[in-house]
C-alpha cells in the first residue's frame, strides 16, 4: 500500500430538497487501500458515492488524484427488460469502436469476464435476460475493464448468491493486490469489513468513526451507528 492519495474529501455536505443528507464528511483514500463505508439504511452512503462521482451537487471539497480512472459499480441499474441491448453491447459502451470492436478489446474483455466467473456466452444475452447475480458480476467486470485506479462499489454482493459472495471479495482483494486498485466499498456486512478493509468509515449523516476496523469499530461507535439492537445483530454476524 503506497502513501499516494487517490481521493481527499473535506467537509463534504449534501442537501437534497432542503433536507440535509450529509454534513462535515472528511476522509482520504490512498492508493491500493480498501476503505469500507459502513452505516445503517438512510445513512447517506449511496449519496456520498454519488457526490464523489459528481452526480449530485455538494458543498465542501472532493479532490481526486489528477487523471485517476474511476470504476463505479452502482447498486443496480434499471433498464427496460424488453430493450434489445446485449451484454456485449453494454461492454462496447467503453470501446471507442461500438460497431466493429477490435480483437484486442474482445480478448481483454474475456479476461475480465473470467475473473468474475462469467463465460463468453453471457455476452450474447440481452441485459433484460440476466439474473440479478449475473447483472451484479457483469457490472463489476464492466467497472474493472479499464483497470481503474479506484473502484467505487455500492454493495457489490447485495444480489449475488451467498456462495459467490466470497468469490467477489476474493477477486476484489486480488485486484487490489495485483493492480494496486484502491477500493471504496459500501457494505452492510461487518464481517466483510473486518476481513477485507484496511480502514472503515462509519457514516450516519456524518462521520461517526473512522480508522482500522479493529480500532474504529468499538462497541461505543457501533452503538452510535446502529443503536443497541443493530449492534448485537452484527456482532453475531447474522445475514440480513
Amino acid at each position: 500500500m503506497g502513501n499516494e492519495t487517490i481521493l481527499t474529501v473535506e467537509d463534504l455536505g449534501v442537501t437534497i430538497d432542503d433536507v440535509q443528507i450529509l454534513h462535515g464528511v472528511s476522509f482520504t483514500l490512498r492508493k491500493g487501500e480498501a476503505l469500507a463505508v459502513l452505516g445503517p439504511n438512510g445513512a447517506g452512503k449511496t449519496v456520498l458515492f454519488r457526490a464523489l462521482l459528481g452526480l449530485l451537487p455538494y458543498t465542501g471539497t472532493v479532490r481526486w488524484q489528477p487523471g485517476v480512472e474511476i470504476g463505479y459499480v452502482p447498486q443496480r441499474f434499471s433498464i427496460d427488460p424488453s430493450a434489445p441491448i446485449t451484454a456485449m453491447e453494454f461492454f462496447l459502451l467503453q470501446s471507442p469502436n461500438f460497431w466493429r470492436p477490435g480483437a484486442e478489446f474482445i480478448a481483454h474483455l474475456d479476461h475480465e469476464l473470467n475473473l468474475m466467473g462469467l463465460n463468453r456466452g453471457v455476452l450474447r444475452k440481452s441485459l433484460g435476460e440476466l439474473s440479478g447475480g449475473e447483472t451484479q458480476r457483469l457490472l463489476m467486470a464492466w467497472a474493472m475493464l479499464r483497470h481503474p485506479g479506484v473502484l467505487l462499489l455500492d454493495e457489490p454482493t447485495a444480489a449475488v448468491d451467498a456462495g459467490f459472495e466470497e468469490t467477489v471479495y476474493a477477486v476484489l482483494h486480488r485486484v487490489q493486490q495485483e493492480r494496486g486498485t484502491a477500493l471504496l466499498l459500501i457494505s452492510h456486512d461487518i464481517n466483510v469489513v473486518y476481513r477485507y478493509a484496511q480502514r472503515v468509515l462509519c457514516l450516519n449523516k456524518t462521520v461517526v468513526c473512522q480508522g482500522p476496523p479493529v480500532e474504529a469499530l468499538n462497541p461505543a461507535a457501533l452503538a452510535t451507528l446502529y443503536g443497541e439492537a443493530g449492534f448485537y445483530q452484527h456482532e453475531h454476524g447474522h445475514e440480513h
Binding site: R50, L53, G54, L55, I70, Y72, P74, F77, I79, D80, S82, A83, P84, I85, T86, M88, E89, F90, L92, L93, Q94, S95, F98, W99, S126, L127
Partner: protein, 257 residues
C-alpha cells in the same frame, strides 16, 4: 428525371432511413409519445411562415428546434412532469396552427403531399437526411450510454449534452419529413420502424440497422402505394407501417417466450 414522384421517392427513402435510425433511441428513452407529438409543434411554424409569405420549412425548423430545447430543459427539472406539459403544449400548438393556417393549406400541412421542389432544394434535403442518419450511427454509443445508465455515462464523460444532440437530430429529421408526411403523422414515422424492428431484434446494433432499413422501405412503399392509388403519401406510409407492426407482433411474443 426530376418529377414530383421521383422527388418524393428519394425523400421517402432518405428521410425514411433517417427516421428509422433515430427511432430506436427515442423509443428506448421512452419518449415515443413526446416524439410523436413533437411534430405537431411544426404546425404553428408553418402557419406563421405562410402568413409572412416565407417558405414553411423555415417555420417548421425554428419551431421544432425550439421544442427540442424545451423538452431538454423540462427533462433537467425533476419537479416538472414533462409528458403532461409537452402533451398540453403540443396539442395547443396544433390548435393554434389550425386557427391560423389558411383553409386551402390545412390538409396538406396535416397529412403531407407530394412536394414540388427545385432541384437544389431537393438535393439539400436529401444530403441533410443522409448526414442526420449517419450521425445517429456515429453517436449511437453515446446515445445508448445515456439510455443504459446516465450515471455511468457521466462517470465516463458522456454527459447530457448528447441527449440534447439526440433531440436536435430528431427534430431536424421530423422537419425534413413534414412536407411529405405531414405534421400529424411525421412523428409516427420515426416511431413505427423502430417499434417493428424492436420486435425482431436481439441486439442494439441490429436493432438500429433493421429500423433504418425498415424506415426507408416503408416510406418508399408508402409513396408507391399513394402514387398508384392516388392517396396522400403521409397516411399511406403510416398505415403500411402500422400493418407491418401488427404482423411483427407474433415474432415479439416468440422472442419473449
Amino acid at each position: 428525371m426530376h418529377s414530383t414522384y421521383h422527388a418524393s421517392f428519394w425523400i421517402a427513402l432518405l428521410v425514411g432511413i433517417a427516421s428509422g435510425s433515430v427511432g430506436p433511441f427515442i423509443l428506448l428513452r421512452r419518449m415515443a409519445l413526446v416524439g410523436d407529438a413533437l411534430s405537431h409543434v411544426a404546425l404553428p411554424g408553418i402557419a406563421l411562415a405562410l402568413v409572412y409569405g416565407l417558405d414553411p420549412f423555415y417555420g417548421v425548423v425554428v419551431f421544432l428546434i425550439a421544442s427540442a430545447f424545451l423538452i431538454y430543459w423540462l427533462e433537467g427539472r425533476s419537479r416538472v412532469p414533462p409528458d403532461a406539459i409537452v402533451g398540453l403544449l403540443f396539442t395547443a400548438s396544433l390548435a393554434i396552427g389550425i386557427l391560423i393556417i389558411p383553409n386551402g393549406d390545412i390538409i396538406e400541412s396535416l397529412f403531407g403531399a407530394f412536394p414540388v421542389l427545385s432541384l437544389p432544394y431537393l438535393l439539400a434535403i436529401l444530403l441533410l437526411a443522409a448526414v442526420l442518419a449517419a450521425l445517429c450511427f456515429v453517436l449511437a454509443r453515446r446515445f445508448l450510454f445515456l439510455i443504459v445508465s446516465p450515471d455511468l455515462a457521466k462517470v465516463h464523460g458522456v454527459d447530457r449534452r448528447y441527449d440534447l444532440a439526440l433531440l436536435l437530430i430528431f427534430s431536424m429529421i421530423v422537419a425534413l419529413g413534414i412536407k411529405l408526411v405531414g405534421t400529424l403523422l411525421m412523428g409516427a414515422l420515426t416511431i413505427i420502424p423502430a417499434s417493428i424492428a424492436k420486435n425482431v431484434s436481439h441486439s442494439m446494433r441490429r436493432y438500429v440497422i433493421t429500423s433504418a432499413i425498415l424506415g426507408g422501405a416503408i416510406s418508399v412503399a408508402g409513396v408507391w402505394v399513394a402514387e398508384s392509388f392516388r392517396f396522400l403519401p403521409g397516411p399511406a406510409i403510416v398505415l403500411l407501417g402500422v400493418a407491418l407492426f401488427v404482423l411483427s407482433l407474433p415474432l415479439a411474443r416468440r422472442r419473449a417466450a
